[in-house]
C-alpha cells in the first residue's frame, strides 16, 4: 500500500487574523479520529509558525541562512499528515475531507505527494 504525505499549506498572515469558528476544533478532532480508526493515519502534526523557522540554503558550495517569518511566500507548510492508503484516489478523498473541515473563509492547500518507496541508495533507483 503506497504512502502519501499531505503537506498542508496555509497563508500564515491571513490565518493569524481570522479566528476559526468555535466548532472548528471539534470537527477536526472528529475527522482525525475517523482517519485514525480507518487505519490509514500513520502520523500527523502541525508546525510552529515560520517566525520560529530557519531556511538553510546550499548553493554554489555555500550555505546561506534566512530566519523566518517567510513573508515573501504567500503559503507556507503549516502541517502534514502521513497516510497509508490503497491508491492516490483514496489519499485525495481524505485530503478533501480534511479541507472541508476548515472554516469557509479560510484558504488552505493540501499538496498530496506519494512517498517514493524502495531503494534509498540513488544508484539503485530505476532509470526514469
Amino acid at each position: 500500500m503506497p504512502r502519501f504525505i499531505s503537506l498542508i499549506q496555509v497563508d500564515e498572515q491571513s490565518i493569524a487574523t481570522q479566528a476559526p469558528d468555535p466548532d472548528f476544533e471539534k470537527r477536526m478532532g472528529a475527522l482525525f479520529e475517523e482517519i485514525t480508526k480507518a487505519g490509514v493515519m500513520l502520523d500527523t502534526a502541525g508546525l510552529a509558525p515560520t517566525s520560529q523557522a530557519t531556511r538553510l540554503h546550499w548553493s554554489g558550495g555555500r550555505i546561506s541562512q534566512t530566519d523566518g517569518p517567510f513573508t515573501e511566500s504567500k503559503e507556507v507548510v503549516g502541517g502534514y499528515a502521513l497516510l497509508q492508503v490503497k491508491d492516490r484516489a483514496e489519499a485525495l478523498e481524505w485530503a478533501r475531507r480534511f479541507l472541508e473541515v476548515h472554516p469557509e473563509h479560510w484558504s488552505v492547500t493540501a499538496e498530496v505527494r506519494e512517498i517514493q518507496e524502495g531503494p534509498s541508495d540513488p544508484s539503485e533507483l530505476p532509470c526514469p
Binding site: M1, Q9, T36, K37, G39, E75, A89, L92, E93, E111
Partner: protein, 424 residues
C-alpha cells in the same frame, strides 16, 4: 515551489471522474455501510448485497446530481432505507421478515446521521461476526479481508495464491454458514468474550504471517498482505481501545513490519536477523509499535503483548550484539507458560542459546525432536543445525541443514539452507 504546487493540483484535482469518486468513497465507507445495514437485516451476506445496491445507486445518480456533501452518509442512508424496505416488504426475504419484522414494528428505524459511537458498535459487531469460530480460519480470513479490509475477491485470491472462484465460493459458503448457524450480529460480552476476541486477533495475525513468511511461492514475503493486516490491526485498536491484547497485536505487527525492508537481500534472498542492516529498519513503524505496546498497559501481558515485547527487544538493539537475549529468553518462558507450544519452546531454545550458550539451547531443542507437532517443520532441523555449527559439530550441522532444506516449501529459504549446509 509555486510552479510544482500548481502543477500537482492541476493534474490530480480535476482528473478524477465521478465514477472514480464513487468507488473511492465506497471503498472507504463499505465496511461501515455493511455494518450499519447488517444491524437492520441481521445477515452480513444480505447486508453486503444491499451495500452494493447503494453503490449502484450512487453510480447512477451522482454523475447527474453531483457528489453529495457527505458522500459516506448518503451511501449509508440509501443502503439503510433499502434494507428497511426490503425487510418490510418481505418479497424476496420472507424468511428474514419472520425474524426481524417484529423488532422493526416495535422500534423506530435507527436514527440518522448515526452517532460515531453507534458506527463503532456496528463495526465491532461486523468484526466479531466475520471472525466467528463456527467458520474455519480460511473462511474467517477471506470474509474479514472482504468485509473489513475492503479487498476484492480478486485481490484476496492473488494474496493467497488461489483462484478467484475458490475465494468467491469460500465467502459465499461462509455467509451461508453464519446464517444457517443463526450467529447473532452482536458483540460478545461476558465469558464468551475472551475466546471470541482471540478468534478475531488470530485472523489478523494469520493474514500478517501469510504475508510475512509466505508459506508457498517464490517470494519470501508479500508486503501488501502485511500492510492489509496492519491496517486491520490499527482499525481494531480504534474499535477496542480497552483491550490490551488488541494493542499487543498491533504492536507486534508494527514491529515485525519494521524489519521487512531488511529481511530480503537484493536478489530476493532471505537475510537472517543477525545479518540484517538495521539502518533499513523502518523507524516510524518501530516507534508506532513501541507506542502501541505502551498503550497495552502494564500487564499482566497476554500472548500478543509478550510477543510484541520480544519484538521490541530486537527493535531496541541498535546492533545485533546489543540484543538483550536474557530478557528475550525470559519473555519466551512466560509465553510458553501461557500458551505452551513446541514452536514457542523452539524459539525459547534459540534465545537461551544466545543468552547462555549453544549447549544450553541444544539441550532444549533435543527435548523437542520427538515432538509430533514439529515433524516436518523445517525450523527444527534449521535451528538444531545452527546450534551444532556453533558447537563446532560441522558434519551433524550439515545433515540438519540439508534436512531443513527438504522440508521448507519456500524456494528462497531452501537456497539459504543449502548454502549453510555447504559451508558447515
Amino acid at each position: 515551489m509555486a510552479v510544482t504546487g500548481t502543477d500537482a493540483v492541476g493534474t490530480a484535482g480535476t482528473g478524477s471522474t465521478t465514477a472514480e469518486t464513487v468507488e473511492t468513497v465506497f471503498r472507504i465507507e463499505s465496511a461501515r455501510i455493511v455494518a450499519a445495514v447488517a444491524r437492520v437485516v441481521r445477515d452480513v451476506g444480505l447486508a453486503e448485497e444491499i451495500a452494493q445496491d447503494a453503490l449502484v445507486a450512487a453510480l447512477e445518480q451522482w454523475p447527474e446530481s453531483g457528489v453529495p456533501e457527505r458522500p459516506g452518509a448518503w451511501l449509508t442512508a440509501v443502503a439503510k432505507r433499502r434494507a428497511i424496505d426490503l425487510v418490510r416488504r418481505g418479497e424476496t426475504y420472507a424468511r428474514k421478515l419472520a425474524e426481524v419484522g417484529r423488532t422493526l414494528e416495535d422500534t423506530p428505524p435507527p436514527p440518522e446521521p448515526a452517532d460515531p459511537e453507534d458506527i463503532d458498535d456496528d463495526l465491532l459487531r461486523l468484526v466479531f461476526t466475520a471472525c466467528h469460530p463456527v467458520l474455519s480460519a480460511e473462511a474467517r480470513t477471506a470474509l474479514t479481508l472482504r468485509l473489513l479490509g475492503g479487498l476484492t475477491t480478486q485481490e484476496i485470491a492473488r494474496a493467497f495464491l488461489t483462484s478467484e472462484a475458490t475465494v468467491a465460493q469460500r465467502i459465499v459458503r461462509a455467509k451461508r454458514k453464519l446464517a444457517a448457524a443463526g450467529v447473532p450480529f452482536e458483540v460478545p460480552y461476558g465469558e464468551d468474550r475472551a475466546g471470541r476476541l482471540s478468534s478475531v486477533l488470530e485472523v489478523v495475525y494469520l493474514v500478517f504471517n501469510e504475508g510475512y513468511s509466505a508459506t508457498a511461492g517464490d517470494d519470501l514475503c508479500r508486503p501488501a498482505l502485511c500492510e492489509d493486516a496492519l491496517r486491520l490491526a490499527r482499525v481494531l485498536e480504534g474499535l477496542m481501545p480497552g483491550e490490551p491484547e488488541v494493542h499487543g497485536l498491533a504492536a507486534l505487527l508494527e514491529l515485525q513490519a519494521s524489519r521487512i525492508p531488511a529481511r530480503t537481500g537484493h536478489g530476493g534472498e532471505p537475510v537472517l536477523l543477525a545479518d540484517q542492516n538495521r539502518a533499513r529498519w523502518n523507524r516510524m513503524l518501530i516507534l508506532r509499535g513501541l507506542e502501541a505496546l505502551r498503550r497495552a498497559g502494564e500487564g499482566p501481558y497476554g500472548p500478543y503483548c509478550l510477543q510484541a515485547a520480544i519484538a521490541a527487544c530486537h527493535a531496541r538493539a541498535v546492533r545485533y550484539e546489543d540484543t538483550d537475549w536474557a530478557v528475550i529468553a525470559a519473555l519466551y518462558g512466560r509465553l510458553a507458560a501461557l500458551t505452551p507450544s513446541p514452536v514457542v519452546e523452539l524459539n525459547r531454545a534459540v534465545a537461551v542459546s544466545m543468552a547462555e550458550g549453544p549447549g544450553a539451547g541444544l539441550e532444549l531443542v533435543d527435548a523437542l525432536t520427538d515432538e509430533p507437532a514439529l515433524r516436518g517443520y523445517h525450523l527444527l532441523p534449521s535451528v538444531r543445525g545452527d546450534l551444532l555449527e556453533r558447537l563446532g559439530r560441522g558434519e551433524e550441522a550439515r545433515a540438519e541443514f540439508e534436512r531443513a532444506a527438504t522440508l521448507t516449501h519456500n524456494e528462497r529459504e531452501r537456497e539459504l539452507l543449502l548454502g549453510r549446509a555447504r559451508r558447515s
